[in-house]
């Protein structure tokens, strides 16, 4: 069976990176027809690919990720919470700087003995 027609389908398997029998490929490429087919199949691939590139810009738009929206929302919440906390802290600090309101007033008048002797000397 040495004169059998070589299996040229093996060339398709080869160009498609599929498993193939290396001996069968060798036999196929030993013929002029086999070599020509290999070249033309590769050229055909380029013709199809080049032509496909013409419509490539129409690739559907990838759905927009929701991440930026969530990030923006989270940033707003953090900013509001931070502002609220900072405000409360400052408010508390402002209150502690002031003297508390007096509950009792002691009046000191000149000429009045203000020291208690309580039966001393």
């Amino acid at each position: 069976m040495t004169n059998a027609t070589p299996d040229l389908e093996v060339i398709s398997a080869f160009v498609d990176d599929e498993p193939f029998d290396p001996d069968a490929l060798g036999r196929a490429l030993a013929t002029d027809d086999g070599r020509q087919i290999l070249l033309e199949f590769i050229a055909l691939r380029h013709v199809i690919a080049d032509d496909g590139a013409a419509v490539a810009p129409a690739v559907p738009v990838r759905p927009r990720s929701r991440w930026p929206l969530w990030a923006a929302a989270a940033a707003v919440v953090v900013a509001l919470a931070g502002g609220f906390m900072a405000g409360r802290t400052l408010e508390r600090r402002g209150q502690s700087d002031q003297a508390p309101a007096p509950t009792r007033t002691v009046e000191l008048r000149p000429g009045v003995e203000w020291q208690f002797t309580n039966g001393g000397r």
Binding site: E9, D16, A43, L44, R45, I48, D51, V55, A58, P60
Partner: protein, 170 residues
């Protein structure tokens, strides 16, 4: 449930490229690509692996393309206008490629396009089209031989390293 968003990110470009060639019009292909993933959203089953997911998506895509062809034939509509391409020479090649693909048998065209435009393996294509991998190889080879004769001129130009239609200007 299937994670359709992950499938979309991973496969939408391949699905679109396949549909673009299968229906011959970028706008229609874009709509059908969306339909593929809308249908995928409703699928209740989890897919075992990536190969199963690919096969499943392309089965949906192929069915949608076949439905589109059936509807177009029923309406006796002319082919959609070719997708916009730069230059008259490129448009001529585009038209020639479309015409050549249209002359292939439906199944031969599908297996060829799944391999050539979407990069599916013979095993993936076999799952989508319910064929054996050997049958896929035979059909792809047959499709290439037919396209080789139908697109002899662009192939010849390509082998000479010429741009499409450039010989006309010499």
């Amino acid at each position: 449930m299937v994670n359709v968003e992950a499938l979309f990110v991973q496969h939408q470009e391949r699905v679109f490229r396949y549909l673009c060639r299968a229906v011959g019009h970028a706008e229609t292909a874009r709509d059908l690509t969306q339909d593929v993933f809308v249908r995928a959203t409703g699928a209740p089953t989890a897919l075992a692996d990536d190969a199963s997911a690919r096969a499943w998506l392309f089965t949906i895509a192929r069915n949608l393309a076949l439905d589109h062809h059936r509807r177009s034939r029923r309406r006796d509509r002319p082919l959609d206008p070719p997708a916009s391409a730069s230059g008259r020479a490129t448009q001529e090649v585009t038209a020639a490629v479309r015409e050549a693909l249209a002359r292939l048998g439906d199944l031969d065209r599908d297996v060829f396009l799944m391999r050539e435009t979407a990069g599916l393996s013979y095993a993936d294509i076999a799952r989508v089209c319910a064929l054996s991998p050997e049958a896929v190889r035979s059909r792809i080879h047959r499709a290439r031989l037919e396209l080789r004769s139908l697109l002899a001129a662009p192939i010849r130009h390509r082998l000479r390293g010429e741009l499409p239609g450039s010989t006309r200007n010499k």
